[in-house]
Symmetry: C2
Subunit: 216 residues, 2 copies
């Protein structure tokens, strides 16, 4: 019985790691779609979100069932409750990738990103990818030192978003209102994606150490 229980706990972790992979791919493709007006990439993100939702639902069911049947205490209870929260945050990250893909689709065959802003958007995409990759590693390896690194990456994302808004609001902005609206939203979605990755990492610190990480 006890063995099956721990196998099921491991299965929950596997699902979370798988979710990080799915939402990493989703955001990488959404960034490509946005930069290159790649409609196929955009559609694959939008279609692929069903699998993310399914894995989140499965995780929630599995954790609730384990809680009800096994009556876990201390670290196991913490792991289960937190796993459910993490799956839900990862699911939101998938939604944010979908929102970015939809901006790309709406502007296709044009790109929503003026040439001069491509470097910022590209770096927001790579920063997002870095964050979710580290998040996956933290979940798989329980490396709480790595988990703490994510805050620095999140600060970078916030700085990029500020840069983006500064450019949009500068007197030199010549692209009109539509790209301003698109990029304001895209910037917000990247920022929230990073926030969720940091929340997941903080949740893992809680699982590993039992200590709540101070949220802003």
């Amino acid at each position: 019985m006890r063995d099956t229980y721990h196998e099921e706990l491991d299965a929950v972790t596997d699902r979370l790691v798988r979710l990080t992979q799915l939402v990493r791919t989703a955001m990488a493709r959404a960034t490509t779609a946005l930069l290159d007006a790649d409609l196929q990439a955009a559609e694959s993100v939008i279609t692929g979100d069903a699998e993310v939702n399914r894995l989140n639902d499965e995780t929630e069911e599995a954790t609730l069932e384990l809680m009800a049947l096994q009556q876990p205490v201390a670290k196991d209870l913490r792991t289960l409750v937190t796993s459910m929260q993490m799956a839900s945050e990862l699911e939101r990250m998938g939604d944010l990738a979908v929102h970015i893909a939809k901006i790309a689709r709406r502007r296709h065959p044009d790109s929503a990103v003026p040439q001069q802003l491509r470097p910022i958007i590209l770096e927001m995409g790579t920063t997002a990818e870095l964050l979710i990759t580290k998040t996956g590693t933290v979940i798989a390896t329980h490396d709480d030192e790595l988990a703490k690194e994510l805050e620095g990456d999140d600060d970078r994302m916030d700085a990029l978003r500020t840069q983006l808004l500064t450019r949009i609001l500068s007197s030199g902005w010549q692209h009109g209102v539509e790209p301003a609206v698109d990029l304001t939203l895209a910037g917000r979605y990247f920022e929230r994606y990073a926030d969720h990755a940091v929340h997941v990492a903080h949740n893992m610190i809680y699982v590993i150490t039992g200590e709540k990480h101070e949220e802003d």
Copy 2:
């Protein structure tokens, strides 16, 4: 022992209802701040968020403790797990009100809302207030029929956001990029606020009936 337990469960519910009241006031004030460039209202939302965060933390601690000590099953377990999720969603709603208050503060002494768009923003504010008021009632009374009403209100919020974006992107837009950016973000924050209210209501349907409400 059993009595204390149920008193503590009731205390969790009371905290959730209190949270709905706090985030309703926060959004009402944030809307006023945005429409009337009311700096004092904006500051009160920003300062008041600490109390929202504190109540969320308390709810999380109380529910984890009850789960660990009482080993609840079935409906009680569902209530505790879900209460934690609801507190976290309500806390996010408080953050969204803060984001709107900060837009108002950034533009003060000007208003971020051009005259012609005041009716839309006003209705987004009243729709938000309606949603959170119903959410509070659903939590307090376990009225799952009322919980289902929230989807219609959320559809109204989505329609208002679409109207807002259509106005911003129309050829008649004469207010430049800054108000476009402000209102694009404000629209997104109102929309997310409504989404969270609907999630909380769906969570309550799950508590009451044991049935998961289908999410979009």
